[in-house]
């Protein structure tokens, strides 16, 4: 297309013009208001709630959009956002009272119930092809008796529906006008009602957010947030130490954390953000045997390993759920480090000489130190773990299709029900879902479904507890350790509260003199 060349030329003109600009032309924005410079660790992939993915993109969207509910940055509890209050009697019909006086960014008008209906229908619309459509599939109808009241009818009771409509993925509210104007560029022109709007983006180097002066809680303390893309960990750390950035989004190198801490930087952190489990494929014969799975759990000394290589970033963990979740229980069977017992279990299972299996991993991550320890420890009980490294897309494809002996999964979600349902319910068995262990225990399935429908929180908790106990007893998923997330920053940067989705609400962040 000749037009394309012309486009290219036209686009190059301003670029050429900017070459000519002189030193004095510092962006005007820098002069007024506070500016926060944050390290961003990968190329952004867009901020359309319908198809957003990866935590770093979600964190930007989290600050651009709002949901009916949101998460408290400190406690992680569900708090009102665009909905000021809600009620339900059966977990099936939900009535939300919406906030008045909320405006969209850039003159896209006031927020009303119609926006919520449009947003949710957009996700549900097959034409949108949103991967999150299933989350809202349970919505039978939505009605707005008045612009600030919304009644949602579900096909089945769902005690976790407030998570579904939180400021995350499908829960984020968009403006119909903005969506229609953006066409296929929605991901790069997000218009929401959150504390910040997207001012500019260079997909390979920089994202600039500006505060939304009309934010319903009032303008945020910081006027401009500049996200600089720095992929290399070592470089990011040096950039913070040099003062080139104020805050590092997710620093995950123990040595860097130690250095930064010693140099007086603030170690903003959220503990137990997510748990890493080993998914064992029962189609690989030894893993079908619970004794083998238990043996593997006994064989590795996660306490010592995590202490040794990354005491700040990890701690041993034995459940699929995390302690801060409302249905979490600690009352489950645990597998302490005991190589002798592991050997005995293996012998009992019929593998006295051990066996060899492949652990699927990504080449981007390489063989982590922890995995190297696992290899070493497992070899001591006769199990030979080999790493099979593929690149990330291949890894995702094979993991989602269940084509592996063992693969790791990070289970990040604030909604414990979602974790348990996804990983244990036979409907979600690979390749149609995340149940990579191909777990199909009717008892557990019944408990899961029952818990979801149970409006009584205590009764539901009992069922969840039972599920956790059964799963731990059978060692369905090999719980290994849980992760902490760090955003080290300059001491003067305050209010960096990382929630359990590993996200920071920049409305809380300020720079103090």
């Amino acid at each position: 297309m000749i037009g394309n060349i012309r486009k290219l030329l036209a686009a190059s003109l301003p670029l050429l013009a900017s070459f000519a600009l002189v030193l004095s032309a510092t962006p005007a924005a820098m002069a007024q208001g506070k500016t926060l410079t944050v390290r961003f660790y990968d190329d952004p992939a867009g901020f359309d709630p319908a198809n957003i993915f990866r935590i770093e993109n979600e964190n930007i969207a989290f600050n651009i959009f709002s949901g009916l509910t949101s998460y408290d940055g400190v406690t992680g509890e569900i708090v009102p956002d665009l909905a000021t209050s809600w009620e339900t009697s059966d977990n099936k019909t939900w009535t939300f009272k919406l906030r008045e006086g909320v405006t969209f960014h850039k003159d896209y008008g006031d927020f009303t119930a119609a926006d919520v209906i449009y947003s949710f229908n957009r996700i549900k619309d097959p034409a949108t092809a949103s991967p999150y459509a299933a989350e809202l599939a349970g919505i039978v109808s939505m009605e707005a008796p008045d612009p600030y009241t919304l009644v949602i009818e579900l096909d089945a009771p769902n005690g976790n529906f407030l998570h579904t409509v939180a400021n995350y993925h499908q829960g984020q509210i968009v403006s119909q006008k903005a969506i229609e104007e953006a066409g296929d560029q929605v991901r790069w022109q997000p218009i929401g009602t959150g504390p910040y709007y997207l001012e500019s983006i260079d997909v390979s180097s920089q994202i600039v957010l500006k505060r939304h002066e009309g934010y319903y809680k009032g303008p945020a303390p910081i006027e401009t947030i500049v996200f600089n893309i720095i992929k290399d960990e070592a470089t990011a750390t040096i950039a913070l130490r040099n003062g080139e950035v104020d805050l590092v989004m997710r620093s995950n190198q123990e040595e860097n954390l130690t250095t930064l801490k010693a140099e007086g930087f603030t170690m903003n952190a959220v503990m137990n953000y997510a748990v890493v489990v080993g998914v064992l494929n029962p189609e690989f014969e030894p893993f079908a045997n619970p004794l083998v799975r238990k043996a593997m759990a006994h064989a590795v000394d996660y306490v010592s390993i995590t202490q040794a290589i990354s005491p700040s970033l990890t701690q041993p963990h034995s459940s699929m759920l995390l302690p801060w979740m409302d249905v979490y229980t600690d009352d489950i069977p645990k597998y302490e480090y005991d190589p002798e017992k592991a050997k005995a279990l293996l012998a009992e299972a019929g593998y006295p000489d051990g066996f060899t299996f492949k652990n699927l991993g990504t080449s981007a991550q390489g063989v982590t130190e922890l995995q190297q320890f696992q290899i070493d420890f497992l070899s001591q009980v006769g199990i030979n773990m080999e790493m099979e490294l593929v690149d990330t897309p291949t890894f995702n494809q094979r993991r989602n299709a269940g084509e592996f002996d063992m693969a790791s999964r990070l289970l990040p979600a604030v909604n414990p029900d979602m974790i348990l349902f996804s990983y244990l319910h036979p409907d979600n068995m690979v390749p149609n879902g995340l149940n990579g262990a191909r777990y199909d225990n009717p008892e557990v399935t019944a408990l899961l479904e029952g818990a979801r429908a149970e409006p009584d929180k205590d009764k539901a908790f009992e069922m969840y507890k039972q599920v956790q106990q059964i799963v731990a007893e059978e060692a369905v998923y090999l719980a290994t350790y849980s992760n902490n997330v760090f955003w080290p920053g300059k001491p003067e940067v305050t209010g960096v509260h990382i929630n359990y989705l590993a996200q920071v609400n920049f409305y809380d962040v300020d720079i103090t003199e």
């Binding site: 960990e233 250095t259 990504t362 290899i375 099979e388 490294l389």
Partner: protein, 295 residues
């Protein structure tokens, strides 16, 4: 004297091998460069081979109570983040790296000589076909080519070797071809042609022996380079997989701790350097030995 009556016997076919063997029979040690090379390489190789019986920690053995220790008598090169003995890992890495280096050199050498000789000797369509493919491969930056190939074939030692050598082969073909082209017009080729020597004879007796020296030099550079490319691939997560050590991935992993424990990557780096210097001298020496003029 006029009549030399002789009975017919089959023509010996082992010309090329015999020629190479002849070179190594002759006083390989008389060259100062070869001696220097061996002075560097032999101890490294000896240590590598002896590593399993040396009183050092096994390369994969972790020790949670001896992490990132400064070099000492017990750990000559210190220990890494996982308390593994770097000296022992370096020796194991030398094995892998040399395997990579030599395999790459050997593959590139054999394929390069074969295809380069064919292209240069026959010319015409064969030449054009081979050189077109060579051009296509040369149009990729070599690191990118290796990245692409490893992505297709997966990680591990065999794909790494294949990827690096495939990226090297086109260069070898070019070198060999240009040598063959210049040799083809030499008078001794004409002399052999006047007695109706076969093309096989011309190639194996006259062309190839005269191209070997330059090709060996190129091969030794390729070998040293392969060790580095493997390191770069490791950096991108495409090289030899830990815990299996290679010099490349030891240096790469140690790079993370450069500030806290410089020795993790620096000491194995010095070993890479020594090996490369050794290879350099070896190739130089062998080249001189292969050249009868320097004897």
């Amino acid at each position: 004297m006029a009549d030399i009556t002789l009975t017919a016997t089959p023509v010996p076919k082992a010309g090329l091998l015999a020629a190479i063997a002849a070179v190594f029979r002759h006083r390989a040690l008389s060259s100062a460069k070869v001696r220097l090379a061996l002075l560097i390489l032999v101890p490294i190789l000896a240590l590598t081979i002896l590593a399993p019986v040396l009183p050092i920690q096994k390369p994969l053995e972790t020790n949670l109570r001896a992490m990132m220790q400064f070099p000492s008598i017990e750990h000559v090169f210190g220990t890494d983040k996982m308390g593994r003995d770097i000296f022992s890992r370096t020796l194991a890495g030398v094995q892998v790296s040399l395997l990579v280096g030599f395999s790459v050199a050997a593959i590139a050498l054999v394929l390069g000589m074969l295809l380069g000789t064919l292209a240069g000797f026959y010319g015409g369509l064969i030449d054009r076909a081979i050189m077109t493919v060579v051009d296509i491969f040369l149009a990729f930056p070599s690191l990118l080519l290796a990245i692409g190939l490893v992505s297709v074939m997966g990680t591990g030692i065999v794909p790494v070797i294949l990827a690096i050598s495939l990226a090297d082969v086109p260069r070898f073909i070019r070198l060999q071809r240009s040598q063959v082209l210049s040799l083809r017009s030499r008078a001794f080729i004409d002399a052999a042609r006047t007695v109706d020597a076969s093309q096989y004879w011309l190639m194996t007796r006259h062309i190839v022996p005269n191209t070997i020296a330059a090709m060996l030099v190129a091969a030794s550079i390729a070998a040293a380079n392969a060790i580095l490319v493997e390191a770069s691939l490791s950096f991108l997560g495409l090289g030899i997989m830990p815990p299996q050590p290679s010099l490349g991935n030891i240096v790469r992993d140690g790079q993370t701790y450069l500030e806290q424990a410089w020795w993790i990557s620096t000491l194995p780096g010095v070993v890479i350097l020594l090996i490369a210097v050794g290879l350099h001298f070896l190739s130089d020496g062998v080249r001189e030995l292969l050249d009868p003029r320097s004897r």
